[in-house]
C-alpha cells in the first residue's frame, strides 16, 4: 500500500466531518477502554506480568539473530521452510514464487498486518490470483476496497448500516438477495460465502502474532476460527511475518498471551490461539503439505541498532490506538498507511521515510496515555519526540518553524530583553482582545479562534508586577 501519510491534515479534516465515521469511532472508543479496564480489574500481579513480558522481549531483542537462526533451524527440522525478505518487494516475490510453484488459483488469507505492510493483496491480484480475506473485518474492507483502519479491528470505522449495504451490493449476485441487518445474520452470511472459499483454496496465508524459537511454531490469536481453517485446509500454508515476532519459548508465549487480548479487546484470552508447527506429518488427519514462513525486515534491523529499538517490543495489541484521543478523533485512515495511532506515528516514518510522514509524529499532544497503557512499556511520546528531533536535524521541519524556534530561543536566553518583549506582548494581547477582525489576521491565532475565544490577558506580566511590589502577597 502506498503511503498517503503526507495527506494527514486533509484526511483528518474529512474524517472529523464524517458523521458515520464519528459514530463508529465513538462507539469503539468507549467500548475498548471499558473492556480493558474490566479485564485488568480481575488480573492479579498485573505489573509483575507486564514487567516479565517486557524482559522477555528485551532479552530476545538483545540476541535477536541467535533466536532467528534457532527458529529457522527448528522450522527446517519439522519440514517447513523459512524465507528471509529484506524489503516488501522481496517478500512479495517470495510469496508469488511459492504460489506460482504450486499452480495456485485461489488464495485465502487470515489477518496479517505484515501482508498489508508489503501490499500483498494487490500484488497477488495483479498476478491474476483470486484472493479472499477470511477475517470478517478484513473481508468487509476487502469488499469496500479500503485498507484497515485499526491493527486489531480493521473495519472498526464501518457502521453496521454500511456493512449491510456492502454485503447487499456484493452478495446479491451470489443469490443472497435479502438485506442482513443484525450482527448474527451478518456473520452467518459472511460464513456462508467464505465456506466456499475455504474449501476451494490452494494456498492459505496467515500472519503471526508470535514465532516460538524453541519449537519453530508460528502463533496466531483470533476470535473467529478463520485462521485455523486458513492454515489447515489449503495444501500450502504461508506465514507472512516479521523478524521481531520471535520469542524464545512456549513458556514465554504463555506469559505474553496473558497481556495481549486483555489490552486489545479486553478478553482474558482470544477464542482461538493456534500454533502451526510445520506441514502435515505422517499420521496427521489434516494440515497443509507445505509450510513457509516469510520473515520480513523492512527497516527493523536498523531500528534494532538505533534509538528506536524499544518499538520492536510492540506486540500489536492495539491498546495505544484505543486510548489515543487523536486516533479517537480522526480514525486510522487519516494516518495514511498500514499502522495508525501512536504506534503507527512511530513506525510509519521509520518504515516509509521521514519525508512524506511529517505530520504523524507531530499530530500528538504528548499526553502519554498510550505509554501508560502499553503492555510493553514502550515510551511512545519519547519516541515521537525523537522523530521530531530527526525531522529538525534533517530539515524536514519547515524553515519557518525552525527559524521561529531559533528566534524565540534567542530571546528566551536574554531574560532582560525577553521581559520587555513579554510586557509589550501582554499589553498588545489585552488591547487585541475583543478585536476579532485584527486577531484573524495573525498567524496561528485563527486556528485557535475558529473554535475558542481568545483569552483576555491581564495587560501586564507577572514579573513586572512582582518586581514593582515583591511583598504584595504577604
Amino acid at each position: 500500500m502506498d503511503s498517503k501519510a503526507h495527506k494527514f491534515r486533509e484526511n483528518a479534516k474529512v474524517a472529523l466531518l464524517d458523521p458515520d465515521l464519528q459514530r463508529a469511532l465513538g462507539k469503539a472508543r468507549g467500548g475498548f477502554v471499558d473492556a480493558r479496564t474490566q479485564a485488568f480489574s480481575c488480573l492479579d500481579r498485573h505489573a509483575e506480568i507486564q514487567d516479565a513480558a517486557k524482559q522477555i522481549k528485551d532479552h530476545t531483542l538483545s540476541v535477536l539473530d541467535e533466536y532467528l537462526v534457532l527458529f529457522e533451524k527448528n522450522v527446517n527440522k519439522v519440514g517447513g521452510k523459512v524465507h528471509w525478505a529484506r524489503t516488501p518487494a522481496e517478500a512479495r516475490k517470495i510469496v508469488l514464487d511459492i504460489c506460482d510453484d504450486v499452480d495456485a488459483r485461489r488464495i485465502i488469507k487470515g489477518k496479517s498486518m505484515v501482508s498489508e505492510e508489503i501490499a500483498l493483496n494487490y500484488a497477488l491480484e495483479t498476478a491474476g490470483y483470486d484472493v479472499v480475506e477470511t477475517d470478517l473485518g478484513e473481508y468487509i474492507i476487502q469488499l469496500a476496497g479500503e485498507p484497515p483502519s485499526h491493527i486489531i479491528a480493521p473495519a472498526v470505522h464501518k457502521t453496521r448500516q454500511q456493512i449491510t449495504d456492502l454485503f447487499h451490493k456484493h452478495h446479491s449476485r451470489l443469490g443472497l438477495k435479502e438485506r442482513v441487518t443484525d450482527i448474527p445474520d451478518i456473520v452467518n452470511e459472511a460464513r456462508l460465502v467464505l465456506r466456499e472459499a475455504f474449501l476451494s483454496a490452494d494456498v492459505g496465508i496467515t500472519g503471526a502474532n508470535f514465532l516460538v524459537a524453541e519449537t519453530g511454531s508460528s502463533v496466531i490469536v483470533t476470535n473467529e476460527g478463520n485462521g485455523d481453517l486458513t492454515n489447515t485446509l489449503p495444501g500450502v500454508h504461508i506465514v507472512t511475518t516479521s523478524i521481531e515476532k520471535v520469542i524464545p519459548t512456549l513458556e514465554d508465549l504463555s506469559g505474553i498471551l496473558r497481556l495481549l487480548a486483555r489490552n486489545g479487546t479486553g478478553q482474558e484470552i482470544t477464542s482461538y490461539t493456534t500454533l502451526s508447527t510445520g506441514p502435515r506429518r505422517t499420521g496427521d488427519k489434516d494440515g497443509p503439505s507445505q509450510y513457509h514462513v516469510v520473515l520480513l525486515d523492512n527497516g527493523r534491523s536498523e531500528m534494532l541498532a538505533g534509538e528506536f529499538k524499544e518499538m520492536l517490543r510492540c506486540i500489536r495489541c492495539g491498546a495505544c490506538l484505543n486510548h489515543c484521543p487523536v486516533y479517537g478523533a480522526v480514525g486510522g485512515h487519516s494516518y495514511g498507511w498500514v499502522y495508525s495511532g501512536p504506534m503507527g506515528a512511530v513506525l510509519t516514518p521509520l518504515m516509509v521515510g521521514l519525508d512524506g510522514t511529517k505530520d504523524l509524529p507531530n499530530a500528538c499532544t504528548l499526553n502519554g496515555r498510550c505509554a501508560e497503557v502499553c503492555p510493553m512499556s514502550i515510551p511512545l511520546p519519547d519516541l515521537l519526540r525523537k522523530i521530531r528531533v530527526r525531522q529538525n536535524e534533517e530539515r524536514i521541519t519547515s524553515v519557518r518553524a525552525r527559524w521561529f524556534m531559533k528566534a524565540w530561543g534567542f530571546l528566551a536566553c536574554k531574560p532582560h530583553l525577553y521581559g520587555w518583549c513579554l510586557r509589550i506582548l501582554a499589553w498588545l494581547l489585552s488591547w487585541l482582545w475583543g478585536k476579532p477582525h485584527i486577531l484573524r489576521l495573525l498567524p496561528f491565532v485563527h486556528e485557535w479562534t475558529a473554535t475558542r475565544e481568545f483569552p483576555k490577558s491581564q495587560g501586564f506580566t507577572f514579573q513586572s508586577a512582582y518586581r514593582k511590589a515583591p511583598n504584595s502577597h504577604e
Partner: protein, 259 residues
Amino acid sequence: MNQPSSPRPSVGLLVTCLVDLLRPNIGFAAMKLLHEAGCDIEVPSQTCCGQPSYNSGDLETTKNIARQVIDQFEFFDYVVVPSGSCAGMLIKHYPKLFEAEPKYRNRAIELASRTRELVSFLVDDIGYRVPARRLNVRVTYHDSCAGLRELGIKGEPRSLLESIETLELTEMSDSEVCCGFGGTFCVKYGDISARMVSEKIASIEATSADFVLGGDLGCLLNIAGCLSRVGSKIAVYHVAEVASDMIASGPIGKDAGST
C-alpha cells in the same frame, strides 16, 4: 539531595512563561499559598522552561534555555512550579537532555530532585492545609496529562480542595483524558484540538459545576476558550487561585482586571 537548610525552606518560584504573560494572578496565588505554608519565596529572573523547543525537536535551543534555568534555580531548597508540565520538564526531561554532558547532567539531576509542582509540594512536602476559608461553590477538576502521568499528581489537588469545607468537588467523566491543548499542537492542528476540547467541555458541563479547576494554565486557557465560545457559565480557575481565595479578579480567559 540537599535537605532544607532552615525551618523556613527557601523556594525559587518558576512561574512559567504562560502565567507570566497571560495570568499573573496564578503567580501571586502561588506566592500567597507558599507564604502561608511558611516558605521564603524568591522569584529569580526567568523566561521559559524550554518545552516549546523541546517538543519541536530543537534540542540545541532547549539546552541553552535549560542551562539558564539550572544556573538560576539551583541554589534553592526547592524549585516550585504552578504547572505539572513545566515541573515535569525539569524533573523528567532536563536530566535526559544532558545525558551526554556530565557536568550539566549532574546539576540537572540535582535540580530535578528538588523541583516540585506547586500543589503536590504544598500537600506532600509541607502538609499545608487551607486556612479557614469559605467558598460556597461546586467545582470539578481536570487532570492535566503531564502532572498526572509524568508526576503522578492525582490526589493532591483533591485533598487541597477538600480542606475547604464549604466547597463541593464533583468528578467529571474522563477527567484523565487530554483536553487537546498540547502546547503548539492546539494551533498546528486546530481542528483536531477543537474536537478534543469539545469532548472535554461536554464532560465538564455534565457535572453542572460552577468552576472547573486544573493545575496547568495551557489546558485551562483551552478549556476556558471553548467554554466561552459555547456560552457556558462555568468559570475556569487554576486550583491555586481557588485555594488562595484569589478569584475576585474574574475567571481565566475573561476580563481578569488586576490583582
